[in-house]
């Protein structure tokens, strides 16, 4: 944690994106989290992703619940819309916002406590309904904000800072998201931006519910020996299935890989996911295969990361509900509130 605001002085050579913004323009207030918190790295990865995608900050709505992780939207995209909801209620507020205005990019930021404990129901239904959003869980295995109690993602057998062993079974949010119908599912690690940033970019450009479980060590309450969410443990057990690169329609494709090692997936909006295979064959379009892989590897004590599943023909909630294209705030009063005659007609039609 630092008290000083970041000075605005910049190197003349600081990169600028197509909008003329620097990365600094995508930052928010100075973080008040503990020094070394994985959540801060995720904020930086979100900044990088939005910078790379030339996203106009005012086109983003960031929503969160309660927790250290849920505090982070204050620390990035200072010029975006934001809503800090009640504990575990980000998904429903976000769903409502998305229904009212489908033209914004929805970014939900949550914690493992916020989503896997108190908010598990909300999480499940947002995935199930196909809300077009990027759902990030900053997963540290504890309730950081309330001083380190085990959360529902803490592995059975892992030890708390004070030596207590967790006896409950963990919830694997990525596996759950897969089952519930998320059409883009990934897992990553806050300490590996090379992997994380492209995954966030792919999610932001995905049409449909995109879920990323990001292991994010809590330096203060969950970074000790015996923890399965510490920097060291995650680095030792990390098994990445692939590396992703997001290619926008405007980009020239320059990367060259040995034939057969690269897979191209064209997303709904024209962006291309370049998937470089790592190790054995892993097919991220095979839904059942993905679920099986996660379970097999989990049994071996591995943390599977990478783009686990993507469905490039996914549909979202608006399509399912056949909602109006225009944001409600642009429809005008007469349209939104057609008056008692229209209501009478409607009632009559239902009699």
């Amino acid at each position: 944690m630092t008290y000083l605001a970041k000075p605005r002085l910049l190197a003349a050579t600081a990169p600028r994106n197509a909008l003329g913004y620097t990365r600094r323009d995508y930052e928010g207030a100075i973080s008040t989290l503990c020094a070394g918190c994985g959540h801060d790295s995720i904020s930086a990865a979100i900044v990088q992703a939005c910078f790379d995608l030339d996203i106009e900050p005012h086109r983003v709505a960031k929503l969160s619940g309660i927790g250290c992780s849920s505090k982070t939207p204050d620390y990035f995209l200072g010029n975006s819309h934001g809503f800090n909801s009640v504990h575990g209620r980000m998904p429903s507020v976000l769903t409502g916002a998305a229904l009212a205005n489908r033209n914004l990019i929805y970014l939900g930021v949550s914690g493992d406590g916020d989503s896997a404990s108190i908010g598990i129901g909300q999480f499940a239904h947002a995935m199930r309904r196909g809300v077009n959003m990027t759902y990030i869980v900053e997963n540290n295995g504890v309730y950081g904000l309330t001083k380190g109690q085990f959360s529902a993602t803490a592995d059975k057998g892992s030890k708390s800072k004070r030596g207590v062993v967790n006896s409950d079974n963990p919830i694997d949010l990525a596996a759950l998201a897969l089952q519930l119908g998320a059409s883009y599912v990934a897992r990553s690690f806050s300490g590996d931006k090379e992997q994380l940033v492209p995954l966030i970019k792919g999610a932001l450009r995905h049409n449909g519910p995109a879920f990323i479980d990001i292991i994010s060590p809590c330096v203060t309450f969950n970074n000790h020996a015996g923890s399965t969410k510490s920097y060291d443990y995650v680095r030792e057990h990390n098994e990445a299935v692939n590396r992703v690169e997001v290619i926008l329609p405007r980009d020239r494709i320059e990367t060259s890989y040995p034939p057969g090692s690269l897979r191209r997936i064209v997303q709904h909006d024209g962006s291309i996911l370049h998937l470089r295979k790592l190790g054995e064959d892993y097919d991220p379009t095979d839904h059942i295969g993905a679920i099986n892989h996660l379970q097999e590897r989990h049994a071996l004590g591995e943390i599977v990361t990478g783009l686990l599943y993507v469905d490039n023909s996914a549909e979202d909630m608006h399509r399912h509900l056949n909602t109006v294209e225009k944001p409600l705030n642009q429809l005008g009063d007469a349209y939104l509130c057609p008056g008692s005659k229209a209501l009478d007609a409607l009632n009559a039609s239902l009699r």
Binding site: K6, R8, P15, D40, S43, V219
Partner: protein, 595 residues
């Protein structure tokens, strides 16, 4: 890339851009912090040790530190380092008890310094403090050399020169004014243990053109004319004055002429405006006083009416560059231009001259008439004779003369003690953590975002009316503090301990200028391109460390680091620390390590 050896004496020194660029390696941020905390005498003494003439240099230094200043790379303008030095001099309280005194017991060695310019006076100070008996001989009326005779009083008042030359005279240095040394040969017979030659570059280049002889009465060599003005021998000039030349001497000439009756004073230069030798601020000052600068005009003839100067003829030229990038001025073919005038000041260059040094003493000169010297020890081919300042390598500036004076004093001291001259005493270096608490540092790490402060000036009509009225008023304390706050404290170094690092990226994410990276190893050119912000300023080092768990390397581009300490505040393990690096160059008397 090879990991950085931060123990190498130059590594951290180079990070302190201003100190590195200062020929005398003045610890700039150290004195700027003293100013910010209102300790002006301390700030003055830090300067005095390094550059001997803080009050003088705080007004007229060529300030090579400022173009080098890191602030200039992250902001519109560098820190006003030079004018802060003046603040130290202006606001210091009584420093008499801080100034050292010469030992009463002398060491029996006698040294002669020829010339009383900054080079000689520096030698005199450094050696007098060690107990040497130093005599200075100067042909001028008052000490200071060209600082006294050339630099106009409206830039540098006599009182400041008197004060700072006085500090040296009080160290039992015998300064003999109006004492020209006419023969080095005979001086050498007087039994001096060593002789230092600091006679400057006293000859102004002339413009040998048609009409020069005939119109001589109203054509003046710039530096001779300025000396006459300085000593009050010249008090008037014609209404229409042409100054030939584009260097700092030309700027002093035109501004002086403006004050001695010149109404239509113009500077005419053969080069373009940007290529002029004068410092940007000198040109600005001239323009501010209503003096136009005409570029790309080559003087070809002095016009006269039976010996009475009437004007100057100019050919119009333009710059052409050959494949090697060298400039050539070629006539444009357009008609010549004639400018009418009453007086011409020729300020087209300055040369060395040593008419008083016999050529059969064993003291060799090179083809350009400069003494053959060891570039480090400044010893001539006559072992007892040393050179420094403008006399050594041609005209430069005061701070260079001072720096060379220090080196010559070291050489003379070692020579007199029969120590090898090529083994030089190293600087003293201290590195100390500035950490006081979790978010507390013993320096002010909050970065000021204020723009460079302008030095208040006296009203133009007042300064043009009297050539002795100083133009700049200097910063007041409030402006001085605001300007001092702009300094980034580049001497407070970021020091990285790889074995403590858990690679959490906190420092990478917080760094406001994005200069920290963790990445795969590569060759330097490749690495420079791959950083978060490509490191294209190759004058600035990359700080590289290995020994991380992931086998990546830490690479920090020193170029625009703000020394804000945010990396160290954010680091959960203390792998970054902010440590103050204080380097003081050795002065005469310091010992060289035995090897």
């Amino acid at each position: 890339m090879k990991p950085t050896d931060t123990k190498a004496p130059d590594y951290f020194h180079k990070v302190v851009d201003c100190q590195w660029a200062c020929p005398a390696h003045t610890p700039v941020p150290e004195y700027i912090r003293q100013i910010a905390s209102g300790h002006f005498a301390e700030a003055y003494m830090i300067n005095w040790r390094s550059n001997v003439f803080p009050g003088i240099l705080g007004r007229v230094c060529d300030r090579p530190c400022e173009p080098a200043c890191r602030r200039g790379r992250v902001d519109e303008a560098p820190v006003a380092i030079c004018r802060l030095k003046r603040v130290a001099a202006d606001f210091k309280e009584d420093i008499s008890d801080r100034l050292p005194v010469a030992p009463t017991q002398k060491n029996g060695k006698r040294i002669a310094c020829v010339g009383a310019g900054p080079a000689s006076l520096t030698v005199a100070r450094d050696l007098a403090l060690l107990g040497y008996e130093v005599s200075v001989f100067d042909d001028g009326a008052r000490a200071g050399g060209m600082m006294r005779s050339q630099i106009p009083k409206f830039r540098l008042p006599d009182s400041v020169i008197d004060e700072e030359c006085g500090h040296i005279a009080r160290l039992d240095v015998a300064i003999h004014q109006n004492h020209r040394i006419a023969s080095l040969g005979s001086l050498l017979t007087e039994g001096w243990d060593a002789v230092f030659v600091g006679t400057g570059a006293p000859r102004g280049r002339d413009a040998e053109l048609p009409g020069r002889k005939e119109a001589a009465a109203h054509i003046h060599i710039g530096i001779e004319w300025l000396a006459n003005v300085a000593f009050g021998h010249v008090e008037h000039i014609g209404k229409r004055v042409i100054v030939l030349g584009g260097g700092n001497t030309a700027m002093d000439c035109c501004r002086s002429a403006r004050r001695l009756g010149g109404e239509d004073v113009r500077v005419v230069v053969r080069s373009g405006f940007d290529e002029m030798k004068a410092s940007p601020w000198e040109k600005e000052d001239a323009l501010h006083e209503g003096i136009p600068i005409h570029n790309y005009l080559m003087h070809t003839a002095f016009l006269h009416d039976n010996g009475r100067l009437t004007g100057v003829r100019f050919e119009q030229v333009r710059a052409e560059y050959d494949e090697r990038g060298r400039r050539k001025l070629v006539p444009t073919g357009e008609p010549d231009i004639v400018m009418e005038c009453d007086d011409v000041l020729v300020a087209i260059g300055q040369e060395n001259a040593f008419p008083w040094i016999e050529r059969d003493l064993g003291l060799d000169f090179d083809e350009w008439g400069l003494p053959v010297l060891d570039p480090v020890t400044l010893q001539s081919t006559l072992p007892r004779v040393f050179f420094g300042g403008d006399a050594a390598f041609g005209p430069k500036n005061i701070i260079t003369a001072v720096a060379q004076g220090h080196e010559a004093a070291i050489s003379i001291d070692r020579f007199c003690r029969a120590r090898p001259l090529d083994r030089r005493p190293p600087p003293t270096v201290e590195l100390a953590s500035q950490k006081m608490g979790i978010h507390e540092w013993s320096y002010d790490n909050q970065i000021s975002e204020e723009a460079r402060k302008k030095v208040p000036l006296k009203a133009l009509e007042d300064t043009l009316a009297d050539i002795r009225v100083e133009v700049e008023l200097g910063f007041d304390v409030r402006l001085a503090c605001a300007e001092a706050e702009r300094c980034l404290n580049c001497d407070v170094q970021t020091v990285f301990t790889p074995k403590l690092c858990i690679e959490c990226d906190a420092c990478v994410d917080i760094c406001p200028v994005e200069c920290i990276n963790f990445t795969a190893d590569a060759d330097e050119p490749d690495l420079r391109e791959r950083l978060k912000v490509p490191a294209r300023n190759t004058d600035q080092a990359l700080y590289v460390a290995d020994g991380l768990k992931t086998h990546r390397i830490m690479v920090k581009d020193e170029n625009v680091c703000l020394h804000c300490g945010m990396c160290a505040e954010r680091c959960p393990t203390g792998a970054w620390d902010m440590q103050k690096f204080l380097l003081n160059t050795a002065l005469a008397g310091a010992e060289a390590p035995r090897t």
